[in-house]
């Protein structure tokens, strides 16, 4: 008799917990489904963007405009950030090495950091912010104002017209921008090495350039095309899926920048690891 009355009581007491558990499970299930659907959509979007590269001759002028906007106009921010990074690395590394009596190794340490890692990654992050914000907000505003639907309604493929030129522009401009960033970073390092650490310029450049091997350049220049693909596709995809007015455009832009920056950092690590371990 006692058992009969106690069991329902326990059930009754635990019921809110069971309900909460069920609600959590449903929500998790919905989230997981949403994530899988989003990934599916993203890969389809990416595939269509690459497939529409065959239409490049038709959208050549759009591509040139994008090359100017995402490439040429990004030079100032790349210059400022890379010179700052080059100067700082030389300053800090030189100070640490001086304490160990190895100040002469400063140029080599600067070169490896700037060429292999800091040049590409600073350029990637700066372009993620500048170019990614531009792509996300432009396309988001077009989506909100139904311009993307208008393109489709009048027979123009919005991915070929809007995403493909941006993708090609990023693929062709990120590499020279990274090269510029590396060069300017090394110049910044040379200035600090000579003025602060009193290392002669010719000694610096000899120590920077002579020991470099193909692997170093490979690590540096394999990264920009991957960054270009990540930044363009992630930011354009978010722009294409913006909804909810101006707030939605802002949210889509931010999401694009945050997600692409994270993927840039992850890709940077794996490309470095892959090349350095296998070559």
């Amino acid at each position: 008799m006692a058992l009969v009355t106690v069991r329902p009581l326990i059930h009754q007491r635990l019921m809110p917990f069971f309900r909460l558990q069920a609600r959590l499970a449903t929500r998790l299930n919905d989230r997981a489904k949403g994530f899988v659907c989003m990934m599916q959509e993203f890969f389809y979007f990416a595939m269509r963007s690459f497939r529409s590269i065959v239409m490049l001759p038709r959208y050549w002028s759009d591509t040139l405009t994008q090359m100017s906007q995402s490439g040429t106009e990004s030079i100032p921010i790349v210059l400022v950030s890379s010179i700052a990074i080059g100067c700082l690395i030389t300053l800090e590394v030189g100070n640490q090495l001086a304490q160990l009596g190895g100040k002469s190794l400063t140029p080599r340490a600067t070169a490896l950091s700037v060429i292999r890692e800091m040049g590409p990654i600073v350029t990637g992050l700066m372009l993620s912010a500048r170019v990614g914000a531009r792509y996300g907000s432009e396309l988001g505003a077009m989506k909100i104002s139904e311009q993307i639907d208008a393109l489709r309604a009048f027979g123009t493929d919005p991915i070929a017209k809007l995403v493909m030129p941006r993708l090609v522009a990023a693929l062709s401009m990120f590499l020279p921008l990274t090269a510029l960033s590396i060069f300017i970073g090394l110049v910044g390092g040379a200035v600090v090495a000579s003025s602060y650490h009193h290392i002669d310029s010719s000694v610096y450049w000899n120590a920077v350039l002579n020991p470099l091997v193909v692997k170093d350049w490979l690590v540096a220049f394999l990264k920009p095309p991957f960054f270009a693909i990540i930044i363009t596709l992630v930011c354009c995809y978010n722009g294409f899926n913006a909804r909810g007015g101006t707030v939605g455009v802002g949210a889509a832009t931010i999401k694009g920048i945050v997600v692409s920056s994270c993927f840039v950092l992850i890709a940077n690590f794996y490309i470095s690891k892959l090349v350095l371990e296998n070559l």
Partner: protein, 244 residues
């Protein structure tokens, strides 16, 4: 002619359209009336193939477009011009460039032919003297007329209007409704007019579909709306300003 056969559309748990069937004849103005969120705009997006139904068939001149691929839809879309609620004009292009944009994009025409068609549309939209202006510098009525001009650029047989008079002053509203009326009488074009304003329906529509909770509750000439005994239609006719 556009025909919907038992069309269902669902977003997650929300059923937008539940087994909707109707026929839109050529050279007639059909109004789609209903409260916000009843699926009115969804209907014209389905007609253009911008979204796909979950079930049912959408026939445009006898061709089933419900599962047609994007690249095959262009010949169908050319038959229908679309005027979006917010006009969807390209804000970095001038009025003239907005009209020429899709001609350059999709038809291999000589520049002289493009210029001629654009001139005709500028004249139709009564925008002479504003050819070089950006959309942002035009008034609401002018933007709407420019959007209608763009919708007519491929020479469609049907024009789809999404809330064409929303946000316009009474004078501009009258001009736009006159334009819609003239398209049918002078050019023999059909139109689908999505609206929540009874005034628009009474002024230009030949027939009216009323949507409520994703279902068609009335499909007849506007004059017969008074005879409809559906509670939503009756309440709407008593308080047309309170449609939502």
């Amino acid at each position: 002619m556009i025909e919907f056969k038992n069309v269902h559309l669902q977003y997650g748990d929300h059923a937008v359209l539940q087994g909707v069937s109707f026929v839109i004849p050529d050279a007639k103005i059909t109004a789609v009336l209903g409260p916000s969120g009843s699926g009115k705009s969804t209907i014209i997006r389905l007609m253009l193939g911008l979204i796909k139904p979950n079930a049912g068939e959408i026939l445009v001149d006898g061709v089933n477009i419900s599962h047609m691929k994007e690249k095959d839809l262009f010949p169908i879309r050319k038959k229908m011009g679309m005027v979006f609620q917010g006009n969807a004009l390209f804000d970095s292009l001038t009025a003239e460039e907005n009209l020429a944009f899709f001609l350059r994009e999709n038809l291999r025409l000589e520049e002289a032919e493009i210029a001629k068609r654009v001139r005709d549309m500028i004249h139709f939209a009564q925008l002479e003297g504003f050819e070089d202006k950006l959309p942002d510098t035009l008034s609401g009525g002018m933007k709407k007329r420019l959007a209608i001009g763009r919708a007519l650029i491929f020479g469609p047989s049907m024009v789809l209007f999404d809330e064409p008079t929303v946000g316009l002053d009474p004078l501009s509203t009258k001009r736009i409704l006159d334009v819609i009326h003239d398209l049918r009488t002078d050019r023999g074009l059909g139109a689908v007019l999505v609206t929540h304003l009874i005034h628009d329906v009474e002024t230009v529509a030949d027939s009216v579909l009323i949507l409520f909770h994703g279902k068609i509750v009335f499909n007849d000439v506007p004059e017969k709306m008074q005879e409809c005994d559906h509670p939503f239609v009756a309440s709407f006719l008593q308080h047309p300003e309170d449609i939502d």
